[in-house]
């Protein structure tokens, strides 16, 4: 069977599987062929599972018995901070050395029930701390569109795997843009669902008021298939909500653009592509409206207070006492400090220190206290804007993919890549990145994405406008 199968969208592959034109084993083999060819240089997978074909055989048997599900037999990649029972999980950190997951994350259980085939664990910034996948303890992942560039992060391995046809789709997690930014840099669709829409049980927590899992896929329809399979309320995650939690919305065909945020710091080519995409959407009957989000200029500062604060609390559990790396110092404190000082990489240590600072007595009110006030203001502004428009549009990232190493010695420059994505995490709104075109850098066409943010619970609004934006691109 030809290795072209690996380039199929999930929707196309599902159709061919249903018609028995291909088998799940064929599909799995096609992806394995691509992995064998490309993974060594791209470093998208930290581990490729050795039972892929066996999983695919089970899917084929289920199909033979009459089962049908759009994901039955579809090979997917999984970010390394999502637990699959009996398999290793490291969050790309040395501190989880030797750790084997003791249970399935709810998203994994749901995908297993749907019959998906898991190809392997994908590389990421350690504990999802980063926007380039350079902070992995196991080396950076490279962007399939230009191997001298980063794939984005932190779900960079998942994005590179799908972009290089080493998987038909993938799961990522998004705390401040970690699905949408790599989707933008790799030319994919990436969805951060509404806070609570997808259970976080079995995800290695980063910022618990921000984290969501979601799909990276080639098309909007594929992203929707994966989202529908993993969403839903879960007794194991009390922040999760059911489909009917937020009221249904009626489409107004109005797009809000906060142009005051785009005046500086955005690459001119990205801005040009963004405006061109809006113009084509206007031709399709969408009304483009200027909106103001005064507090959004503060969003990145708010995020880099709240996120490290939550990181420092969540990562307190990695102490060498119960699992993972365990090193001996000369006291109880020494055991902790040595294990954590050695096991965590530089960016993780930096964030834990920063979080400890903003939560410490004397600084709490000036940083964390103020950040929570600004967060409430931001939430109100976004809610008000979304009473007038269906979605808010911005570029997904201020630039195309940077070069590997470009920002590594300047953490703040790296943080600025998240400038447009963090707002949706702070407010809990769903947001999607859709490919909007390419910009040329050193003779290479680098993809860039447009981000749409919708009201809480309105993923269907995102899929609708995403499909329109995608259709425009196909016509070009």
């Amino acid at each position: 069977m030809s290795s072209d199968l690996s380039t199929l969208s999930i929707t196309e592959a599902a159709k061919m599987l249903a018609a028995k034109e291909i088998s799940a084993v064929d599909l799995a083999r096609a992806c394995i062929t691509q992995i064998e060819k490309k993974n060594k240089s791209l470093n998208a997978y930290l581990e490729v599972f050795d039972d892929i074909e066996a999983q695919a055989k089970v899917a084929d048997e289920r199909h033979m018995k009459g089962e049908s599900s759009p994901l039955l037999g579809i090979p997917l990649a999984v970010k390394d901070n999502i637990l699959i029972k009996g398999r290793r999980a490291s969050a790309a950190s040395k501190i989880l050395e030797g750790y084997v997951s003791t249970y399935d994350a709810t998203v994994i259980k749901k995908l297993k029930d749907a019959g998906a085939v898991f190809l392997g664990r994908t590389n990421m910034d350690e504990f999802a701390h980063g926007s380039s996948t350079e902070n992995s303890a196991f080396g950076p992942t490279k962007n399939p569109h230009d191997e001298s560039r980063v794939p984005g992060g932190s779900s960079g391995g998942s994005a590179a795997a799908v972009a290089a046809s080493m998987a038909l789709g993938a799961l990522g997690t998004d705390t401040g843009g970690s699905i949408r930014e790599p989707a933008s840099f790799c030319g994919l669709v990436g969805l951060k669902p509404t806070y609570g829409a997808v259970s976080r049980s079995g995800l290695i927590a980063m910022g618990s008021s921000l984290d969501q899992a979601g799909p990276l896929a080639q098309t909007v329809a594929d992203a929707e298939l994966i989202f529908n399979a993993i969403r839903g309320q879960d007794p194991l995650d009390s922040t999760s909500i059911g489909e009917a939690f937020y009221p249904k919305r009626v489409e107004k065909k109005k797009i809000g653009v906060p142009r005051h945020l785009l005046k500086e710091g955005v690459d001119p080519d990205v801005l040009k592509t963004f405006e061109a995409t809006l113009a084509t959407l206007a031709l399709q009957g969408y009304e483009i409206i200027d909106i103001e989000l005064p507090s959004a200029a503060l969003a990145l500062a708010v995020y880099y207070v709240i996120m490290p604060a939550e990181v420092s609390s969540n990562l307190a559990r990695f102490d060498g006492v119960r699992y993972g790396l365990s090193l001996a110092g000369n006291s109880q404190w020494g055991d902790y400090a040595k294990t954590r000082g050695t096991g965590f990489g530089p960016e993780v240590r930096r964030r834990v220190m920063l979080g400890t600072y903003v939560l410490s007595s004397g600084y709490y009110d000036a940083y964390y206290g103020k950040a929570t006030i600004a967060r409430a203001m931001l939430r109100a502004e976004v809610r008000n804007a979304l009473e007038i428009v269906d979605v808010i549009a911005t570029p997904s990232a201020p630039s195309p993919a940077p070069r590997i190493g470009e920002n590594i010695s300047n953490p703040l420059a790296m943080y600025l890549l998240d400038i447009f994505t963090v707002t949706a995490n702070l407010t809990g709104n769903p947001a999607i990145s859709i490919p909007m075109g390419n910009v040329l850098r050193d003779g290479k066409a680098l993809p860039v994405g447009i981000q749409f943010t919708a009201a809480h619970g309105d993923e269907s609004g995102l899929f609708a406008i995403g499909t329109s934006a995608e259709a425009e691109k196909k016509l070009e």
């Binding site: 008021s209 220190m353 206290g369 600004a374």
Partner: protein, 100 residues
């Protein structure tokens, strides 16, 4: 700029062993980041309530989940993950010491 001593105090609070060299680079990085995130202090406390977030109280019935518990059969695997295991016990450092 944040002082060397501050970084060492933070490292102690955060249970992190930090080298001399890293202390210096953390002084620089954390100061830069704090300068940037310090913009939030311009927000007036009168402008809004602290954000309660999207969380709400969720209760479950106080009954054992029994065999339907998705985590029911994980006991042995959890024990298996212990860095130092003796039978069904986790071996940890002795922390109660005699008063001097």
């Amino acid at each position: 700029m944040i002082s060397r001593e501050d970084i060492q105090t933070l490292a102690e609070l955060a249970r992190l062993e930090v080298s001399e060299e890293e202390t210096a680079s953390l002084q620089k990085d954390i100061s830069n980041i704090l300068d940037y995130v310090g913009h939030v202090s311009a927000v007036s406390s009168a402008e809004g309530e602290k954000d309660p977030g999207l969380n709400r109280n969720v209760l479950r019935r106080d009954v054992p989940r029994g065999e339907s518990d998705p985590l029911a059969d994980t006991r042995e695997q959890l024990l298996e993950a212990l860095p130092k295991r003796e039978g069904d016990y986790n071996v940890v450092r002795k922390i109660i010491q005699k008063d001097e």
